[in-house]
Symmetry: C2
Subunit: 109 residues, 2 copies
Amino acid sequence: MDKDLESMKITLDVVCGKWKAMILLKLNNGTLRFGGEIKKSIPLINHQTLIKQLRELEEDGLITKKSYPVVPPWVEYSLTDYGKEIQPLLNQMVEWGEMHLDKDKTPPS
Amino acid sequence: MDKDLESMKITLDVVCGKWKAMILLKLNNGTLRFGGEIKKSIPLINHQTLIKQLRELEEDGLITKKSYPVVPPWVEYSLTDYGKEIQPLLNQMVEWGEMHLDKDKTPPS
DNA sequence: AAAAGTAGTATATTTATTTATACTAAGGAG
DNA sequence: CTCCTTAGTATAAATAAATATACTACTTTT
């Protein structure tokens, strides 16, 4: 596997999968609380799946977590500076998807 | 799920997954033959997985297939004009991956 | 007392994706 | 004849990912 493919693979691992890119996209707008905000803005995601994705994104340094020791728990997630660097890529993914949606489904003969 | 997330999902479906982006990246350089070229340039991909991914990319209009009726079979795949439009996104994925590779693994404290 | 509220854990199950193995077609080489 | 070649199929098995369900902790509200 050559260098480009290796690099591509890294990106696929970190931002692809079914949910990570969506989570990062939502965090572009600022800090979000776990349940009330992230979970509701991505309604189809499962509770544990979300937790797992968040933990992995945290391990990869893209997001940070801030827990307030209150009851009931209050936990916020936000992009790190590093995580913000992926924003252009995410935007381009959204743009391409829009374009693909608009495209006529009739194949170009 | 809002419009941005929907669009994002389209992109994830079409180019993410474990291999599609890599296949498209390889096809950026021009037409490739199935076994001798694609399979060897992405050595870890499995035979049927490759066939399946290629078929899906074809169905989505990103690539075309040209079969020559010779024995043994000779089949070529190439990007459609539409498929070429995804090139900037792929390049950005490669760039981000490179950057992430180079990044120190020490977390930003 | 009992219930509600929230982030997270534990476990088991389902679903999706990838892989391994063996097979087909059709002609050329030996 | 038999074997080799290549794209593709068929089937089953293995792996990975996502999900459902139930649970914990701790305080406030009822």
